[in-house]
């Protein structure tokens, strides 16, 4: 148990420290790298709770895909941090206000009170037959929540199609490679033999 507690505090402390570094690092690329460290420690906390599926999915989706794209964009954009920092004090009251509201909501949801989070009694039960939590998540997700799950998928798909539609331009006069045409070219139609008169060329 002692080891468990030590590991928990290591993950938790590194998670919070790296989250602080995300907003205080001078270089935006370093910020993203700290963010990745934060994701990792979040995954570690999931592992400690025995939710290995969530931990792996967190690493695959957020670290393996989302953060790569963040890093990609931040590296390409060349963000000027000094200019971003100028407005820091102006925005501080608004940021603090949002933070306080969130804190209040969390206290309402998880603290004692009229809005106390319901116990898991009414929640769908994956059944005791589920051996691993991967199986348990699957059984709840594809039975009780199947419409919500598919709906969320469709929302993401629409977002993807929309962003492609916004950025797709068909410029005229661009030559594209057509593999089918290339591989079906025939030497008889593609190559012609010409007799070039000396000193005159084909002109």
């Amino acid at each position: 148990m002692v080891v468990h507690a030590i590991v928990f505090y290591v993950f938790a402390v590194v998670l919070i420290a790296s989250a602080l570094m995300v907003i205080s690092a001078r270089n935006p690329v370093h910020s993203v790298l700290w963010l990745i460290l934060g994701f990792f420690n979040g995954a570690g906390l999931f592992l400690l709770m025995g939710a290995e599926f969530l931990a792996m999915v967190l690493v695959i989706v957020y670290v393996g895909a989302v953060a790569v794209l963040f890093l990609f964009v931040v590296m390409m954009l060349n963000v000027n941090v000094a200019r971003l920092r100028q407005g820091f004090l102006d925005y501080l009251p608004i940021g603090a206000g949002v933070g306080l509201v969130l804190l209040g909501e969390l206290l309402l949801a998880f603290g004692a009170g009229p809005f106390h989070a319901p116990s898991s009694a009414g929640a769908p039960d994956p059944g005791m037959g589920a051996a691993t939590n991967t199986e348990a998540i699957g059984q709840v997700l594809y039975t009780d929540y199947v419409y919500l799950f598919q709906g969320a998928g469709i929302v993401l798909l629409i977002g993807m199609v929309g962003s492609i539609l916004l950025t797709l331009r068909h410029r005229p006069g661009v030559r594209r490679q057509d593999v089918h045409d290339q591989t079906h070219r025939d030497p008889r139609t593609a190559v012609t033999l010409k007799k070039v008169p000396t000193g005159e060329g084909l002109g």
Binding site: L33, F53, G64, A65, V68, M75, Q177
Partner: protein
């Protein structure tokens, strides 16, 4: 005190011993893979290859290692030193940690976790960070271009790899790699999933930045891409990481498609050979194909690479997921 010994210290010693027993042969294999590659490509190109150091040149990898060890590590001016030095370490580390879940023989696995396939996928998708960090931290145009290419390329091919893995794990009915191998006792997945095996192998070539998809380090246009500024052990770690990744991916192909440690046929002369030898043999065959591809194929152009990943592999692998699911459901082959 006795509880401390049996509960913590003794398991720690056992795990460290297991790790050493896995990593030492692995690093030897990495060293001799570089030698094998040079000899095989030499043979293909009607040369001899390295043959001067030791008998048949067998000490060449050690000589190379020593040379790199004594080289100076140069950190370019304007580089971001911490990220610059972290990148090769990360590449090397990631190529080793994934081995924790790969069963090299029946029960010979360091961590037999329930989500082995997901763990492998997660670790292999992290490999991009070493390269992109190196490209950015070097503060050099060539390295940066290499890093960006690599990021786009690896993210694209991961999608196809993920779908192929879904097909395999649907057939096996488990995310545990030992379970996946056991599920192949009757038939290796290379037979029902042959198209996906080919697709997976090609995606793996792209994922490890090997020929014909080695655009991140295309020496003709980017000099050496992301690792152009590295020298000494920092370069050696990239080099070792790349080759260890090849072995890792071959191990992955072996586990998912070639039946892991299972013998070719389940009757005597084949079953006498221990599982770890079978595993090593299958990995060696995959590595040989890696090397042959390098010698035989020219490099892809960047737009061709992207076209192959997104317009060919993604629809094919997605279709195969649907076909597999349909077949398993209709014929009642769903694993329990």
């Amino acid at each position: 005190m006795a509880e401390l010994w049996t509960g913590y210290i003794w398991p720690t010693i056992i795990i460290i011993a297991q790790i050493v027993a896995l990593v030492v042969p692995l690093l030897l294999a990495v060293a001799y893979l570089t030698y094998a590659e040079r000899r095989v490509i030499g043979g293909i190109q009607l040369r001899i290859g390295p043959h001067r150091v030791g008998p048949f040149g067998l000490l060449q990898p050690i000589a190379d290692g020593l040379k790199l060890f004594f080289n100076e590590i140069v950190v370019p001016a304007g580089a971001s030193p911490v990220v610059y030095l972290l990148a090769p370490m990360l590449t090397f580390l990631l190529s080793l940690v994934a081995w924790a879940v790969i069963p090299v023989a029946d029960g010979w696995v360091i961590a037999d976790i329930n989500v082995g396939i997901l763990y492998l996928f997660a670790i292999s998708s992290l490999g991009v960070y070493g390269i992109i960090m190196a490209g950015w931290a070097s503060n050099s145009r060539y390295a940066f271009l290499g890093g960006l290419r690599s990021a786009a390329q690896m993210v694209s091919y991961e999608v196809a790899i993920g779908f192929v893995m879904i097909s395999v794990l649907m057939s096996a009915g488990t995310l545990n790699l030992t379970g996946v191998v056991e599920a192949q006792r009757d038939v290796w997945y290379i037979i029902p999933h042959l198209p996906m095996f080919v697709l997976f192998f090609i995606s793996v070539l792209a994922e490890t930045n090997r020929h014909p998809f080695d655009l991140p380090e295309a020496e003709a246009e980017l000099v050496a891409g992301y690792n152009v500024e590295y020298s000494g052990m920092a370069f050696a770690l990239f080099f070792l990481g790349e080759y260890a990744n090849m072995i890792l991916m071959s191990g992955m192909v072996t586990t998912l498609f070639l039946g892991g440690w299972l013998p070719l046929f389940a009757f005597p002369p084949f079953t006498w050979i221990p599982g770890v030898i079978w595993f090593a043999l299958k990995v060696a065959v995959c590595l040989f194909i890696f090397i042959l591809t390098r010698a035989a194929l020219p490099r892809y152009r960047y737009d061709q690479l992207m076209r192959l990943g997104w317009k060919v592999f993604l629809p094919l692998s997605l279709a195969w997921v649907v076909i597999t699911a349909g077949a398993l459901h209709v014929f009642g082959w769903l694993p329990q």
